[in-house]
């Protein structure tokens, strides 16, 4: 099906999103032009929606995504795909802070580098970064995988719950309570399989899998009686 054009320009964000929602409801793929790096484009879209942003976008593009496939041809601002439950977002260039913050599922794929706190508080799904992760990637992430091909900045995988950060390339420093573990072959295969679906097949990567050291998970006791002194 041919794409319909949605021009962003200086129009109100409400009007633009209503037009996007209407095309999504009608199953029409969209080519979105004149984006002007505007914030809040393509919020809370359902499964089946297809959007191609011809340019850069601002904050929260694809936020609360519920199944849409979104491509940003250039760069994206903070919180790209934040709280995404399902769907697929690809950023052709660089992405700002907090990519995939609190996301639950689906895939976010950044071809360039991404800013700090990528995957912060994420609960599930996969974030693929072809470039380098900014500092404190995966901060307090609960689940899911952050996969970086171009290394990671400082304080990588800080204070994780059960999220995983996979890095091919140098890691400037590990965050609080983070530890590198030897991945199992099946886990590597799963990561490589995902990367192959994005045209990134390469079986010669050296992976660092970073997980929680679990020292921050508990105070000294899990027994209620230990908390009665007060």
């Amino acid at each position: 099906m041919s794409e319909v054009e949605v021009k962003v320009g200086e129009r109100s964000i409400r009007e633009i999103n209503e037009e996007i929602q209407e095309h999504a409801a009608n199953g029409l793929p969209m080519h979105i032009t004149d984006t002007l790096s505007r914030h809040n484009l393509g919020i809370g879209l359902p499964k089946g929606a297809k959007l191609r942003f011809d340019g850069s976008v601002g904050y929260y593009c694809g936020g609360l995504n519920n199944g849409a496939t979104i491509t940003v041809e250039r760069n994206s601002g903070w919180g790209t795909g934040e709280a995404q439950a399902a769907g697929d977002i690809t950023v052709g260039g660089y992405a700002g802070m907090s990519v995939g913050a609190a996301m639950l599922g689906g895939v976010i794929h950044v071809k360039g580098d991404c800013g700090p706190r990528c995957g912060v508080a994420m609960k599930g799904g996969d974030i693929i970064v072809e470039g380098k992760l900014g500092y404190q990637a995966g901060f307090m992430s609960h689940g899911g995988r952050i996969i970086a091909l171009g290394g990671a900045g400082e304080s990588c995988a800080d204070a994780l719950w059960e999220g995983e950060v996979w890095v091919a390339g140098p890691v400037e420093s590990l965050g609080v309570d983070a530890k590198i573990v030897e991945p199992e072959a099946a886990e590597i295969a799963s990561v490589e399989e995902l990367l192959a679906t994005r045209g990134l097949a390469d079986n010669n990567r050296e992976w660092r899998k970073i997980v929680s050291g679990q020292r921050l998970w508990y105070f000294e006791s899990r027994e209620a009686n230990a908390w009665l002194m007060i």
Binding site: Y59, Y60, A101, E220, N225
Partner: protein, 476 residues
Amino acid sequence: MANDMNNSDEERYSYPFEMPSEEAVAFSDGAIDGRPAGVPSSYDKGGSLRWTPDAISEVHALAQLGRYQVRGYNCFNQRLPTFDDLTFVPATMTRLPLEGYREKCDTTTILGNSGNVENPLELKIPIYIASMSFGALSASAKAALGYGASKVGTMTCTGEGGMLEEERAASERLVYQMSPARYGLDLDHLRRADGLELVVGQGAKPGTGGLLLGMKVSERVSKMRTLPPGVDQRSTIRHPDFLGADDLAVKIEELRIATNYKVPISIKMGATRPRYDVAIAAKAGADIIVVDGAEGGTGASPEMLLNHTGIPNISAIRAAREALDECGMSGKVSLVAAGGIRSGVDAAKCLALGADAVMIGNASMIAMGCNSPRYEEDYAKLGTSPGACHHCHTGLCPVGIATQDPDLEARMDVAVGAERVARYLTAMTMEITALAKACGKSSVHNLEPEDLRALSFEASAFTGVKMAGIDRAFGW
């Protein structure tokens, strides 16, 4: 001439009776060897202002634990001013009262009527149930709060643990809280909510995220929060995807788009610098601002945060209202006061100080039976007693409210709890309207600072309310 050096015998006064013996002058009863008779010790209760028995026992506790203490409930700082430092001055000669037992007083409360959203929250009373999470509270307690609030036409709020189906089903109106940790957040829940609450802090521990000890992180709680079961959940306080006011404005717009501009968005904050914080939240686009005073409750917190952070509710309300007035947002942005509200009297004082509504947390738990004199042996196991329990953090709540233990939760009967909450809210509302009518008001929202007088310099200074009698606010 009298002076302290005059010892001459001729000037001494003599009784017209015999001088009593030294033994008779001394209090002989209860004398202890080695001390003046009748004086066991001048300092038998301790005398140091700094090293009180409480301060000493705190040092002993810390010396044994090697960490700060953690507990639930609320602020134990005895020096906080209270609502009791204010009194109403009903209509007398200058104003006409309404008939307390005959005439009507409107209690309808509309929150979020900013013009930005389709469905402001219309409540029948100016009180609603505060955001308390499933996790901190049992599912039965959450459901009871929902049904009780619905019966009297008001609402509840999810707290940070995600949307509990029992609570959604029980609550005619339910506000969905987005905490920094975003537990259980999804689009479906946002769209099923009647309002959103972005929490940037809470009165009990402003500047610090939620705490839920492992004993309460049950299978169900852990699943809803995507956490390993049994971990001590210490939440973030900074939101993951916005930092300052400008970002918050963009975030609010995103949430409006996600909810199709239908439901109001609140910002809940702990009371710290309300004059500035409230202005910033209003500027960022909040429809409702909740200011939670230092008296506010919590399921668990480091002790010193509970006792030594934040400012009292009564001082925050006036500052918040003035901030909204100054930036022209009064009437557009609703102001909700929370923190330590115990009764309709306290609630009425909040309304008079400038709140559009109040939110109650601890009070609603107490209404359901928190600290009630049952299961005394279980209170004793916690080292406490009914009326003094503050052990929400342990998950061993004797009455089944602040627990995830199925046996304890079974003690919280949903129907009974709901009815208690409904009756308590009804009684509170009657207290508010009775006071309002005495002050000559046909709507509870017409209560104003002029209806109050301060009973202490502090209360007057904190609130700008005139001192009783002298009728001038304490000035600097």
